[in-house]
Symmetry: C3
Subunit: 463 residues, 3 copies
């Protein structure tokens, strides 16, 4: 067996024993996945996944960034190709380098899928690459491995996708009409039409105007178009927005200033500072709309996107070369909070790629402002050590109840159960330590294990 029943539980026997009991009480709870990057089309079409390499290697930048860092080329891995020429060769290359993932969460997620879904119980290596490939390929061709069947098998209760305001959401609509009982909901991610540095921004804003029939040539029309787009998302089950800005900067301009700034932006003449100010103002505008329409806001700042110029030029966005940068929240969020921080009807979930802010800024902010909640460890920090640091550094100031459970945030559909399983195990391990150190009673730990798995996420995301 590749996976051990006690994996991730602390070694000390009393702690492990309680961690095990806590985990047993939550392991079979349904999965609530309020933030991720799977495709509604998969479930609408319900076609089989093509092959092991296209399923496990190609879409997962966690996988190929590591291979690339050790000299495997993106071309050899056929990254960015709509169809693979030689998926078996890609798979063999991956298997040969599987040892590189030792000590990483990627390894844990993959092993889980290999064993739990495909019954593969020997560690992947160059030697057994073909055995793996054949087994996975064979099973992917069966009905039990189609997207909807997997959704059900995974025990998903709800799964959120992430979508551009320009997306037709046709697959979401089709799913609603299909009668299938799975709950797939869109998330409103307006970056392409609120970030002037987004490639194709101007055209996209124009398209938004066409789509909504609003005059996006002026500020009021632009806001009205966004309001319409949000309403369209809401009608298809959307409960949240998401904002991936370079910084957490917010602004609170007067109506007239904002209109002037927008005019500069749509003219294409705005400089970098104006572009940043526009993004900042748009976070506040989105918060105002959230107060009206009830959509929960998620802010994901601090990623330097497409850091590797050559890789970006050849392979485009999201090719594994985004790098975090130090992020300030205390000053950046102030304009928004000054205006709406005390609104009980508003929920803003904060994420970070800068762990030094957990105890310094985020927990103090969330431990005071009624509208703020802390999102789970994100991206590079969504790992056993990273999750434990989050609990250790945020809980004492923000408590558990200002956090919102787990996000799998993944493009890799098959990793969803593994990721939630890791989160449950780590949370139970943290709670178990608190119990053994007599910092929490056992009955409280059981209640909290359930809240961290299932309760807080539904409440925070209004699901």
């Amino acid at each position: 067996m590749v996976l051990h029943e006690d994996r991730l539980f602390p070694a000390e026997s009393a702690v492990r024993c309680i961690a095990r009991s806590l985990y047993a009480s939550v392991r079979d709870l349904p999965i609530v996945s309020p933030h991720g990057h799977t495709q509604a089309a998969w479930f609408a079409r319900n076609e089989p996944f093509p092959n092991p390499a296209m399923l496990f290697v190609q879409p997962d930048h966690y996988v190929y960034r590591m291979l690339y860092s050790q000299g495997v080329s993106m071309e050899e891995l056929e990254i960015g190709q709509a169809e693979m020429k030689n998926p078996r060769a890609v798979w063999r290359l991956f298997a040969k380098h599987y040892f590189l993932f030792r000590g990483t969460p990627t390894r844990m997620w993959l092993d889980y899928a290999f064993q739990e879904l495909f019954g593969l119980e020997e560690r992947l290596s160059e030697r057994n690459a073909d055995v793996y490939y054949d087994r996975i390929a064979e099973m992917l061709a069966t009905d039990g491995f189609r997207p909807r069947a997997l959704y059900e098998r995974f025990g998903l209760e709800v799964l959120a996708t992430t979508d551009s305001p320009l997306d037709s959401l046709e697959h979401h609509a089709a799913l609603r009409e299909s009668g299938w009982r799975g709950r797939i909901v869109p998330t409103f991610r307006p970056d392409p039409v609120v970030d002037p540095e987004f490639v194709g921004f101007a055209e996209r804003v124009r398209a938004l105007g066409e789509q909504t029939g609003e005059d996006v040539g002026n500020w009021a029309g632009y806001l009205a178009a966004l309001r319409q787009a949000r309403a369209r998302f809401r009608r298809l089950g959307c409960t949240a927005t998401d904002h991936g800005h370079p910084t957490a900067q917010t602004a609170d301009l007067s109506e007239a200033e904002a209109a002037r700034l927008y005019a500069a932006i749509v003219s294409g003449q705005a400089d970098a500072a104006e572009q940043e100010l526009f993004r900042a103002q748009m976070l506040t505008e989105m918060a105002k709309m959230s107060l009206e329409d009830g959509l929960v806001m998620q802010i994901h700042p601090g990623s330097v996107r497409n850091h590797n110029r050559q890789v970006f030029e050849r392979f485009g966005r999201d090719a594994g070369a985004d790098i975090p940068r130090a992020t300030n929240y205390v000053d950046a969020l102030r304009p928004l909070l000054d205006r709406m921080g005390n609104e009980p009807g508003l929920t803003i979930i904060l994420f970070t790629l800068d762990e030094s802010t957990y105890s310094r800024e985020l927990a103090p902010l969330a431990g005071h402002y009624p509208c703020l909640r802390l999102g789970p460890p994100w991206w590079f920090h969504d790992s056993p050590e990273g999750m434990m640091r989050f609990r250790e550094q945020a809980t004492e100031t923000a408590g558990f109840y200002n956090t919102v459970g787990f996000n799998d945030d993944t493009r890799a559909f098959l990793s969803i159960p593994a990721r939630h399983d890791v989160a449950r195990r780590v949370d139970c391990s943290f709670l178990a330590r608190l119990v053994v150190e007599h910092r929490l009673d056992e009955d409280e730990a059981f209640e909290l294990a359930r809240e961290l798995t299932n309760g807080l996420v539904k409440k925070a995301y209004r699901l």
Copy 2:
């Protein structure tokens, strides 16, 4: 029982066993509290505390910031009211939300007081709120719960308050004359008369002039007034100053530059940069005076005060909405250290709200400069995990002997023994791990446990 004898000790049995022995050797040592926010008036008047809500909820922003973050309003909690209209209702609200404190040090401090002082042994909840209220109210009315009796019962050896240079210190004087053997000493906190952004700064400086008979219209007179104020504090037992600046910036201007800057400041015409420069220069001036008069300096930088504008406007300062900001020490302290860093007669105790500076800046600075010492984890970081991080991140570079023991830093008088108890348990746990990992001999650990509890603090604060 709410509290377990082994609370906070690590789970592993060998470590726990040594932690227990170390703790047993220091648990009954007197409490030295060199930095805090209790009121001398309490001890001078020695009147009973009014009621449970005014004792536990109203003064403690650790308590109400958490309640506020989860939607309980400040009005419902009667925060900022001189007298409470309905303390029992406030108490019930607090009890109903007591579960929010799970995993926080506040919970641990409160449980300690409930059990050890009031004999309450069932966890507080909505259900037993009235039982708690009645028991506490009843006991507060007894003589054993008056401030002086509690001081003695807590085993306090010395307790420092924090006071404005304008404070008459009448209660300190009264205490000295009362014949009571408790030792309550003031701390000189000149922020109101050295920080131009302090509300009412100009009037306060004028008041300082009147109080001391110095001409504060010029730089020399202003410094002379501060010198006099320090001398007045020293006569009432003061051994330390405290400085709560937004940053750790220091400056070393020439006499003429400083005089010009002061003229700009008192004219009310100085801009933000000049105000920052003035605060910076005043840290250096205070260090010069410390070298003369022997007062130990404490620097507490890095807090963005009154972050929540609406809460500040309605409830004033210190209402639970201060948020830390990233803090630089390495460049900021240089002007002061260039001038006085090698003075063996000077002691400067550094605090931080930015834990990333422990290993990066603070331990390297304190591990070199003779005048520098590291204060204990402050505010949000004064928690079991926070204290452990401090030891883990500072000790290897600064050693134990460049630290100064524990500060309870509290407004909540009844939490003092609990806070010191937590600190002793965490320090003993850290030492026990070093012993079991053969990084420290057992006899050394016993000696260090005593130093960390009692020895280093007296030496550093000259108590």
Copy 3:
């Protein structure tokens, strides 16, 4: 005995048991020391070390910075004196203050040398200072304690020194010709001739011109001179360069811009920003040369050198008063990476004094760019807790294979085996925890223990 066989292994018995086995498998592997500050002259001359104080106290700023921080003067310790007047008095002073090192790695390194090399098994203190002094002095006079004998006794396989481009490398040449089988190699550290703020920069550049016969009055000649110097180092076994810049800033100027900047620099008229830009450009130039000649690049940014002005003025560079500063890599390295980040033939090893960058910037960068590797914890962080934090914070994103084993980085030759021993124990402890938490198989842990000790370092440094 001062040292316990199980030192540094975690307390929990299953983890300790596996850590012990892993350690047993690597404890006797040869030491590869690719980065340090020992002197080739010691081995070329092979003379006995003079006395205990000159061996253990005088060269080791880890030792005397701690003594200095607690009021022992540099004069009393005879720091900076070519010959000591009273080494026994210095030794007694050191022994009297030995307790200050409790909880520090220095204590562990010293105890190791005392016990393993000199057979001293009672803890050093004021009481036994003379016993220690006499024993060590006596043994230093024997042939077994000459540099070459110790090199062999330590099981060194290769030892790199750090050298200025102006260094004649005569001792390295002499060693090569001596027939001795030890492998001592130089490292090319061009700071004195590429950092315009280096004391004596202009003269040093002139000297470089004279040494190489190139016209350093212009940019092309300056680069040619550096190329020649690198070639000279390579001929004596050098495989790596090292760069100790204040920041990690890189630049990618055009040929013409770079030539103009160089002209401003050599004229002595450049301002601070131009000096920084020049250093930035020189990192990129060095990377270009590395791509040509195969020397591995090490970048050590983020140290504020000579922070204590008075100590610097009286005792010069490297007197224990360097303090880390927050360091940005994500923006700073971009110009260099934009140009050469995807070159498989280039290796750049990154170090930091800012631990907050491990998970935020360094692991994400090294987990993507083929040319980047992570150096081990450096300086203040080269300690048991620091090493463990590095593994915990870097591994999940960068994996093990983007790291490069251990550097002892020391001036204290006798501490080399102790330092490597600590690193091996900490790595084995980390691996053992992963095994017991079922995050890594046992056979993988054994393979990794060997890689972390011996394999990765040879590959990364091309040794």
